[in-house]
Symmetry: C2
Subunit: 614 residues, 2 copies
């Protein structure tokens, strides 16, 4: 299907917006009137620029407060419309969006609305223009699409049809299935937006919090199915008002938008199945869901201290890269790479790459590429195993691996065996439980859509975590079996006033006996991140555990949580540069990440003398 | 009255919060449990630290989901409470806040709630602790204070009383006057917060958007009057959950908080008049409302280009400072100082100071000082007129002046007359209409409270202005007669991703004939900020003005607006460094600032080749 975006969804000048829409692969745009009015280029120049970029100008919008006015006000509305028609002819756009009136002057009279819209359509027809009438969710008298459709049907003019907008329909919880009763050729245009569920007035919600399909909680795909079943064959057009996207770079936002539409088409295709309505849908190669973590790589200027920490946790150095400054550390199925050959990070050690076990690395990269993710060069060195890797939105490299499988060259083959003497007693760590990545503040929605659409991970509920210097937002994405779990964190509002960095990343290691692991660390002379005694006093108030259990948690500095499925124990190492390790033990079917304890951890990290060392 | 603040209102560690509360002059604090639980110092250490700072720990909070549970759950609640009592004894705090339950386990049974709260109060009494029961606005069964009071009365225990919270009461539009029916000694505690009117669920609103009294739209002063008339003589305590304050520096937020309480006491005092209930209220010296602008001062590394611009606008250089590198430019009652002797601003010219005509400069400074504003040294040089000046929150210096009045030394006396030849025809500019100051993003509420409380200006509605790189928030403050108008602007969310500065400041000059002023500028070879032709096409659609009028607006690059009271014409100069001039003409009683045209201006400034020059 043709894909379009409203200029209001992107930041910058109108020229910037067109460039970004083109670069991301859109074939059409809606021009938001304010974007034109505040631009220096004349409509003819905009038309030429769009045409040079292969962009069709599909819709001009919005035309407000026209219909259902007392007869003496009609002339003023038509006069206004004639001005718009003139601009539209210069722009070369043949469709005008008319929103249902919010004016106090509007009368609650469908026949009057229909009569006046018919006159408008007649005038528009003289210019070869079509009128797409949209029910705003907060329209004064017309606020749902079926009401708008009754009026359009009553007006009965070939140049008058409907514009449907997923937000206006789904935000008011108007059932979308009745869309299928509308003849497809009377649906002139389809605007798409998603939104997270937020407890607020629909107008405020719409103006500030819309997002691209797949980033929120609305069933946009279901609505598109209804629209296609009605016989609509026009473009899918994104119209998003979002405070953060307004501040973000247009090129990147446009790419995020296109990724959302591709994933949406795929979802719609899956729901429509063999239906002829699915004919126009282009399908990307299917997602290749990873099955586990192959490794996590830390870039560090000084591998010594991290090596000491890994040793203390029970890891063993098992290999050295044949020609890079990278060492491999293993324990159970947990593998950590220490890379001291990459350009030095100004903040000290950083989590630079994640290896994911993939059923098919090559197919995983194809999927990522189809969803506009930057694919990394496959061959860095002819002697190494080929790399199948993409860059995540925050710049972390994601490698798709098949570790030690006969059907695929293994990355481990690039390492020469370099086994230290194994420690007397093997460690308790079994695998990487999850990694936590802090996102740039304007890329949180992009990141969750990336992991969802590119890797097929499932986003979980978005949480608020109080940090001493501001709320953080946290959202986990995981595979269905939790073999891969990634926690995405972001500062709640823009940036912090203080210079304290909250760009920490961490690797959470699963231990089958966290008490032994905690003792092992201490025995090696390393202290975990200190947990306040006050935490344990509070824990005793909250949880009636056996006194011996409380004593042990307190003694070892373990944090505790419980849910309906089981228990969770965790502790942290002190932070080096931007990274730290978390050790966790899940007992029973505990599904969370200890969010209740995150404020304790954050406060301790801010006051820990190590937290800014590199 | 004693003044207190909840630790949750301030950022940082618990120790930082106590230090900030003390520095701002608070005598008490409420300790928010999470702040203690995540802190390393033991309760005894916190108690000692507070005591060393002269801070009384007045309340420990919150204790949740206790009352009205089935009898088998009571023991668990009491067990939890005993732990809290133990911590409270160590902290030396004698009051526990109990919030009305939000638990699904709670039963809608006032008698049961009363019975269980009585048991809690009996246990508390054994520790010398009082229970302050608060109706959360979103409590499951108890959500208004009269309901909570019925339960407290039914429980009838001396250690059980009410905590009233202005947000919980006013946000739900529960009438506060019935507070006066509650015996004052049963109101154990009073928490205060304000909030802007926002169309959202009360819980979401409370958690993210509370602000200090006077910064929002709730009648907090009226509620305090009710509480004092009831006979309450406890402290006024601020409890604010605000996403921005969480990220801001604690010392500054605490000062802002204290300023809000001082202004609140004053308002309450004014409303209570001679009532004995007003006895405990300390009153600051009254505000001294400025009557107009004396001058605006621009710090500039290169006065030449600004001098040329002023000349072109019809200004005449009339004086030179006797020993500073400052020149005075005048036209009508508009006075501009060009200062090229101050430290160079990295961004080029900046609006560094504003002179305000004041009925009493000395009294104005006393007022500012009583409201914790930084007063600038009065004597810089023994030869100059003494300065009465304070620093506004954004760092702009505000001078209180009496220009050319016999009763006070005039700042103009520091300038030697240095009159150029007046131009052939005198200019049309009559005075400074307003100045616009961009605020640091985390200081917007602080700034509007500063201008309201320190200068007695009236805040107007907060507006959203679409900039190509994000929404801006804009709020004007003015005197009743509009003699002084200041527009405060801020980026809507934190900072921008792009490096484009939106820290522009400007001086708006009133012209009695803006067409002549526009022609004058052009005749001098200077172009105003260009306005797109598309703007005029749209203006013709929006306003049915005479064609000649439209032609003239377009020819001269004037922007147009209209309200119920009159018309508004405006144009802008190009930006130099951080500043530009606006020329306005108000026709009839137009009261606004041309907000509808701000997006046109912002878009033009972003694309203007001059906008980043210095």
């Amino acid at each position: 299907m043709r894909k379009s975006i409203a200029t209001v969804s992107l930041s910058g000048s109108l020229a910037d917006k067109l460039t970004a829409a083109h670069a991301a692969g859109f074939s059409g745009v809606e021009i938001f009137e304010n974007d034109l009015v505040s631009s220096a280029p004349a409509p003819e120049d905009v038309r030429r620029r769009a045409s040079d970029l292969g962009l069709e100008v599909l819709l001009y919008q919005p035309f407000r407060d026209f219909e259902a006015v007392p007869p003496d006000r009609l002339a003023a509305g038509l006069r206004r419309a004639e001005h718009k028609f003139a601009v539209m002819e210069r722009l070369g756009v043949e469709q005008l969006l008319v929103c249902s009136s919010v004016s106090p002057a509007a009368v609650d009279d469908d026949a009057l609305a229909a009569q006046q819209l018919r006159i408008l359509a007649e005038r528009a027809a003289e210019h070869g223009i079509r009128i797409a009438y949209e029910a705003l969710a907060w329209g004064r008298h017309v606020s749902d699409y079926l009401h708008a459709w009754r009026i359009v049907r009553m007006a009965d003019h070939p140049n008058l049809g409907l514009c449907l907008d997923s937000f206006h329909i789904l935000a008011r919880e108007v059932a979308p299935y009745a869309i299928e009763t509308i003849p497809g050729d009377k649906i002139f245009f389809l605007q798409l937006a998603d939104a997270p569920t937020l407890p607020m007035d629909v107008l405020h919600w719409s103006r500030h919090y819309r997002c691209f399909p797949g980033q929120g909680d609305l069933d946009v795909a279901g609505l598109v199915c209804n629209v296609l079943r009605a016989g609509y064959d026009g473009p899918l057009s994104l119209e998003v008002f979002n405070d953060i996207f307004r501040q973000a770079a247009a090129m990147r936002t446009a790419q995020d938008a296109m990724r959302s539409l591709i994933a949406l088409e795929e979802q719609v295709g899956a729901r429509l199945g063999d239906s002829p309505h699915a004919a126009g849908l282009a399908l990307p190669p299917p997602p290749v869901v990873p099955t586990g973590f192959a490794f996590a790589e830390l870039a560090t200027p000084d591998p010594g201290s991290l090596a000491g920490l890994l040793n203390a946790l029970g890891f063993v150095r098992t290999g050295t890269h044949r020609h890079k400054s990278v060492s491999l550390w293993e324990q159970g199925d947990a593998r950590i790479l220490l890379n001291h050959g990459s350009p030095e990070s100004p903040d000290g050690p950083a989590l630079s790459a994640i290896g994911l076990e993939s059923p098919s690395p090559a197919a995983a990269v194809k999927r990522a590429e189809a969803l506009l993710s930057p694919v990394l060069p496959r061959v860095w060195d002819p002697h190494d195993a080929p790399l199948d890797a993409v860059a995540a939105p925050d710049g972390t490299d994601l490698f798709f691996c098949r570790t030690g499988r006969p059907d695929h060259p293994s990355w481990t083959g690039d390492f020469s065996e370099d086994r230290q003497d194994a420690p007397g007693d093997p460690g308790e760590i079994t695998h990487i439980d999850h990694v936590a990545l802090t996102q740039p503040w304007h890329q949180f929605d992009e990141a969750s859509l990336f992991y969802k659409s590119v890797l097929g991970l499932r986003p979980h509920e978005s949480l608020e975590l109080p940090d001493p210097y501001g709320l953080l937002r946290s959202r986990a994405v995981s595979t269905e079996d939790s073999g891969v779990r990634i926690a995405l964190n972001v500062a709640y509002i823009g940036t912090h006033e203080t210079d304290l960095s909250v760009a920490w990343q961490h690797i959470a290691l699963a231990s089958r006996d966290i008490i032994a692991t905690a003792r092992r660390l201490r025995a090696a002379g390393l202290a975990p991140l200190p947990v306040p005694a006050n935490y344990y006093d509070d824990l005793e108030a909250r949880h009636d555990l056996p006194p011996e259990r409380h004593r042990l948690l307190r003694e070892l500095g373990l944090l505790y949580d419980r849910d309906d499925h089981g228990e969770f124990l965790q502790f942290y190492t002190v932070t080096a540069g931007r990274v730290f390790f978390e050790i966790v033990q899940r007992i029973g079917g505990y599904v969370g990440y200890g969010a209740v304890n995150a404020p304790i951890r954050l406060a301790a990290q801010h006051t820990s003398p190590h937290h800014r060392s590199s």
